[in-house]
């Protein structure tokens, strides 16, 4: 497939390129500098409708990895309007497959996470008003509405804490024992290569096997706390985590 990657030179982008690069023709785009790559590269701004529509020409699928967190205008420009631009580009070029990504709390915000267990990707979104979650949730809603009116298949993959498997325990939770049981880190964690592999699984899943035109997946490694549920990513995408990150919740 010819695949357009938006935000392809961020933190997740290189892992997605690793997972897909030998199997598909990639057009990597980002607002930032060019990565060192053998794939086609374009510098674009996802908040520009013209940029995104132009970049999507000749593509079979779009993966949206673009994200901007702290600045309020940029967050809306990228996380919300960037999705609108992506979907207009998909309609313009007849692209049927769109993969969107974001943090788990664009769906399961504090009103879920502070209260419940077995949180799953088929719940109605409750992102709350935290800027990052809120703007990403608006983007996801734009995507969903487009699938109700156009023949576009949307797969949204939700991540949160991502780790280099060689460096678990030295990540955002601190080092060694300091990271144990830090719930902000453990409920929703995955290794970077497994995240890239999940996107490959989504990309290569035949569209006719999707139950609807808008499917969402919670993608994290198998963690014993039971707060979130990753079974849909396993059963529908056929994805299996290679890295289990046991160091995050095992005492020894």
């Amino acid at each position: 497939m010819n695949i357009l990657i938006l935000g392809g030179n961020g933190m997740l982008g290189p892992w997605v390129v690793d997972a897909l690069g030998d199997r598909h023709r990639l057009r990597i785009t980002d607002i930032g500098e060019s990565p060192v790559t053998t794939h086609e590269w374009r510098q674009i701004d996802v908040s520009s409708l013209d940029d995104v529509v132009d970049a999507a020409e000749g593509m079979d699928a779009i993966i949206n990895l673009s994200v901007l967190r702290p600045h309020r205008r940029s967050a809306f420009d990228v996380n919300t309007r960037g999705n609108y631009n992506m979907m207009v580009a998909a309609v313009t070029h007849g692209i049927q497959r769109v993969i969107n990504t974001g943090p788990h709390y664009q769906m399961a915000g504090p009103s879920y996470e502070d209260w419940d267990f077995d949180l799953n990707p088929d719940m109605p979104p409750q992102p709350g008003t935290r800027l990052y979650a809120h703007t990403k949730a608006l983007g996801q809603e734009i995507d969903r509405v487009f699938t109700t009116k156009h023949d576009i298949y949307l797969q949204t993959l939700l991540f949160y804490h991502l780790y280099d498997p060689a460096d678990v325990g030295n990540g955002p939770g601190g080092s060694g024992l300091e990271s144990l049981g830090k719930d902000m880190m453990t409920p929703y964690s995955i290794a970077w290569p497994d995240a890239g592999e999940a996107i490959r699984c989504a990309m290569e899943l035949p569209l006719e096997r999707l139950p609807s035109r808008a499917e969402t997946y919670m993608v994290f490694t198998d963690i014993p706390h039971g707060m979130f549920n990753n079974s849909k990513a396993r059963t529908q995408l056929g994805w299996q985590p290679r890295y289990h990150l046991e160091q995050l919740w095992n005492k020894s």
Binding site: R81, M87, V91, Q126, T129, L138
Partner: protein, 243 residues
């Protein structure tokens, strides 16, 4: 009551200003590009800065045009109804503004067949046209602020078309979802002071309900949309409208 009205130089904004001015201490505001050269309009781009904080300071309530304001590009429509609304609500929450009335549209339910008894409990079915999608997203922003409490938000979905005059004018329009301007003014006045928890499932919970959607079309015989919440929350048109 000191009332802030957004998009005040739009056609709908001007009509609302005229309708609300006799009853409220009205502060009119619009984006700088629209407010240029206008007297009595406070120019504010609803950014995340002190200007938005100053705008809402001292307001008892805000009436926000979430649909049917200015014509604009898709980017500008989406930006106003998401980011600007978010900034306005953030400022309102910080300033302790007690009531926020979002004016949305019943066009979000237009895809449902006319023979269906569509109430506020039916899921919106927006299209992707920027003006409709923006209204839907504006509701989304309001709903999440409402979910967190603090600001009490009345989300009024207005009938269409908007016709000048009283209920009889709406009846005479021949449009089953029409809304007369007099009825709109009546609904907004009621929404500014209504107990939003009236007849809510969680009305007895310790935290009062802080977001309610209410359908507002004129109570014409066999009207298209049911007006149950207009009756139960706003105290309007009991037993009138759709059978």
């Amino acid at each position: 009551m000191r009332l802030l009205l957004t998009s005040a130089t739009s056609e709908l904004g001007r009509s609302l200003a005229e309708l609300l001015a006799p009853h409220h201490d009205l502060v009119l505001t619009d984006l700088a590009g629209h407010a240029d050269g206008e007297t009595n309009i406070v120019a504010c781009d609803l950014g995340h800065d002190e200007s938005t904080d100053r705008l809402v300071e001292g307001a008892d309530a805000i009436v926000h045009i979430g649909y049917g304001g200015h014509f604009a590009s898709s980017s500008d429509l989406l930006d106003f109804h998401t980011r600007c609304t978010y900034n306005l609500l953030t400022a309102a929450r910080s300033a302790g503004v007690g009531r926020f009335v979002n004016l949305s549209t019943l066009r979000l339910l237009d895809d449902y067949s006319e023979n269906l008894t569509v109430t506020e409990n039916w899921r919106p079915v927006p299209g992707v046209e920027p003006v409709i999608l923006s209204a839907h997203l504006c509701e989304y922003v309001c709903r999440e602020f409402g979910r967190e409490g603090t600001v009490k938000i009345a989300n009024l979905r207005l009938g269409f078309p908007l016709v000048d005059g009283d209920t009889a004018a709406a009846v005479n329009s021949g449009e089953s979802a029409a809304l007369a301007s007099d009825d709109l003014a009546t609904a907004i006045k009621a929404a500014l002071i209504a107990d939003l928890s009236a007849n809510a499932q969680s009305a007895d919970a310790p935290h009062p309900v802080s977001f309610r959607t209410i359908h507002v079309q004129s109570p014409i015989p066999n009207g298209r949309f049911l007006l149950k919440r207009a009756a139960s929350i706003l105290g309007l048109w009991e037993g009138q409208g759709a059978a």
